[in-house]
């Protein structure tokens, strides 16, 4: 019997696992590395920014209020003399707490919903999907207004509001990926072992739909950053005295007319750079997965 088959003996087991392959592809992707560098810069600012800012971002200095960029104040000072450079650096902290947590919430809730609707299909899918679509039709700002009236303003409220408004979008992506996986024979094989629906969804199907979830999550993160900044700008988001970017723009945009552009420009650039950074990361991952 042992002579029957030497065919199984020799083939070398080469080739890296899929995630190792993704990692190496990302390390070769200029798009990803650029985006990653930008995001990493802001993450470091958020974590350690207060230790290397030249001034206390909250300390006012009325005498030097609204001074233009100079060697002393690289980005100038605002209405009450706070150093704009220090505020921009530290201003990354709240947005980089709230936006990722909101995205995480959206991903977890959306993935669970997507797995459920895609796996069970039929009537359960129809009902849940219609409800989610109705939910998606309501603008985030309206939801935020209602939530703030009901719950009061806090970071937690912002996280919940953005998380729950993005969840249906992630659910839709996950659902379509699950529908495709559902047709594969390994799902039938799991049923032929009498596996529970929970096992089939989370142990069998979930690992195979991670790539689209990863892409969708990074896309949502970009939008979440934007949404947090918008809500803060409108006064529903992060509250004073935080040096948050959206909040700073909101406090200072009236000054542009007076020629005090530096009070707004650098915060706006900061938001833009972070969103662009996240989008570059997304593009890089998407490109690497499609290769």
């Amino acid at each position: 019997m042992s002579a029957t088959d030497t065919t199984t003996q020799e083939r070398p087991i080469g080739r890296r696992g899929p995630y190792a392959e993704l990692f190496f592809a990302l390390m070769r992707s200029g798009t990803f590395l650029t985006g990653f560098a930008i995001v990493l810069f802001w993450v470091i600012c958020a974590l350690f920014g207060e230790h290397f800012t030249p001034y206390d971002p909250l300390a006012d200095d009325i005498i030097n209020a609204l001074s233009p960029p100079s060697a002393e104040h690289w980005f100038g000072t605002d209405q009450i003399g706070r150093d704009v450079f220090s505020r921009v650096i530290v201003g990354s902290r709240d947005i980089l707490t709230v936006a990722p947590l909101a995205t995480l919430l959206a991903t977890v809730a959306g993935t669970a919903l997507g797995l459920f609707t895609g796996y069970f299909r039929g009537i359960a899918d129809d009902i849940v999907s219609r409800v989610l679509e109705a939910f998606m039709a309501i603008p985030v700002v309206i939801v935020a207004l209602l939530a703030i009236v009901a719950l009061g303003t806090s970071k937690a409220t912002v996280i919940v509001v953005i998380g729950l408004s993005f969840a249906p979008i992630i659910a839709r992506t996950v659902r379509s990926a699950v529908l495709a996986e559902r047709e594969l024979d390994y799902v039938a094989a799991a049923q032929l072992r009498h596996e529970s629906a929970f096992h089939t969804m989370f142990v069998e199907i979930l690992p195979n739909v991670i790539p689209p979830i990863l892409v969708e999550t990074t896309v949502r993160l970009g939008y979440a950053i934007f949404a947090v900044a918008t809500l803060s700008f409108m006064g529903f988001g992060i509250q004073p005295p935080s040096p948050d970017w959206g909040l700073s723009i909101s406090n200072n945009y009236g000054m542009i007319g007076g020629g005090f552009w530096w009070t707004v420009l650098f915060d706006a650039l900061a938001i833009a750079s972070l969103v662009i950074g996240v989008n570059l990361v997304t593009d890089g991952i998407q490109g690497a997965l499609n290769d």
Binding site: I13, R15, P207
Partner: protein
Amino acid sequence: MTDPAKAATGMTANALDLNDLSVAYRVGGRNRAVLRNVSLSIGRGEAYGLVGESGCGKSTAALSVVRYLPRNGSITGGAIAIDGKDVMKLDAEALRRARAETVSMVYQDPGKALNPSIRIGRQLTEIFELAGITGKAAEERALAMLKRVRISDPVGVMQRYPHQLSGGMQQRVAIAMALANDPSMLILDEPTTGLDATVEAEVLDLIAQLRRELSASILFISHNLAVVSNMCDRVGVLYAGMLVEEGTTKDVFNDPRHPYTVALLRCLPRGGQRKDQGRLDTIPGFLPGIGATITGCAFADRCALADDRCRRELPPLYELGDGRLSRCHYHDKAQTLPRATPSDVKLPAPATAAEPVLRVENVNKTYASHGHALRAVKDVSLDLAPGETLGLVGESGSGKTTFARLLLGLVAPDEGGQITLEGKTLAPRLEGRGDDQVKAMQIVFQNPDSALNRSHSIRHLIGRALKRLAGLSGKALETRLDELVRSVRLTERHLAAKPRQLSGGLKQRVAIARAFAGDPRIVVCDEPTSALDVSVQAAILNLLADLQAKERVSYIFISHDLGVVRYLSDKIAVLYLGRIMELGPSEDVFSGPHHPYTEALLSAVPKLDRSESSRIRLDGEIPSATNPPPGCVFQTRCPRKIGAICESQEPPLVQAKPGHMIRCHIPYPELARLQKHGAAQSEPA
């Protein structure tokens, strides 16, 4: 190298000359050789077959003829000449003209060769417009081309989109497109591989007829030796990118002079060979990876005849006379190649007298399709004895897979039928069946890439099955896992791998191990070898036969390859439009007298050692199951239709002789008389 065809035709230039051609693909920053110094010539009007297992460089050879290699491929040496013109020296414009006018290619998947959003007529007309014919004239030429490939309703086909045509019709259109500009060289790369045997036979007939009408030379690439043997004048065998044997088709297949060819031919179940008559031979080891450095003979590692000289010294292409070439130092001894697999086998006969392990009574499955009822399975009844193999055959769309899924409970049958497993009635759906019933019936799917979860390791895949199906855990699970892995001839080191890291054959072994985890009574095998090379197929078939002998398991074996079905099956059910047309012991069904449909199926199989005289051809495609023909469902294509009764009355499944049932209006003795003449030739190769 001398070329007999050249001498025979007396022409100055061959249709195609490859001279010392080497091709490499750049992978991971390194050039890896795919073709190594291949020289071959195709004379004018000649059909040349190129055979070999996947990965040996067949398709690369075809693509390099018109310098159509993928971006990372390059010709690293040698010369290609079409009609005596050096292809390597052509500039971009001349190359474009050569591709447009001189050489045409037909690929395996016609669905991909046709533009899905353009009507067939437009796509064909375009080719003539490129050649400078305009307006109405081009359209007429397009229509004439469709008539030439004998497509039914050519005027209608012009108006249709590719997806509205069946696979066989699509391939006809692809051939029509390839022939449109009257090429002098036609390259066919696995043109019938995705098609049903009956459709394949039609397409091959068409190619053979066209050959007589046209002057084109043909380079025919196929992994199917029988197809090549029916279509080609001469054949070349490729191994690891090297031409290892060449000669006339008849010589090479009847009197192979290279151990690889010898081994390849032995892997096929031929001449009605059955599992109890001995194991199939296999080829040990693996094809060298692309770009591997080869010193000595490339086949030496897998060749039982190889000695030190073979490993040291690359054999030249020895000329054996009559245009025969063999790249083997011991070409005169090639046929004495010892078997890689002992043929001895002890198979207990199935316990047909015992209580059947599975009994299926009047099972139906109807799907709703756009408001019509689609009868995928109609009124199927059969028994399966312990240790018995039931072969399910029929064209695609005949309901084989649906029937298998009904048995497994993945699809619920219509109310009314009954499936009994070991005396107990089975619930229609899996959820209603007990754990014991579920583990008793398992399946090996056709495509292991779909059946094995790509995120899990082999250890997890098999271990989970043992846990769920055999209820094992801890130490006991480890021990059994080890045993099971060894019984399917995998090794410890495969356990940590993910499915994608294994070859197709190894993946199928994992799937088999998983199916056997809970000591099943019945294993459904749904085309388990259709994606595998012949040598791997042989190993898998041997494994299935060995496991059956050891475990006394029953198989339901689905395959379109009748040679394979015949090898494994004790009993055959022939399905057509969801109905059993014939059911009986394997020997009776194959040797006949049989149902006219079975007769046609058998006749469609290309055979290695038979002339194409007494072939029966089925016209057209299998009718739609939403609207089956009245009377006998087979009457629209039946070559032995007797008259009005076939159109008005569905024949019952009647017992022709004990255990052998046939659904036909023609009485059994009459069938015997009609088929007596052809029976001798209907042995599958």
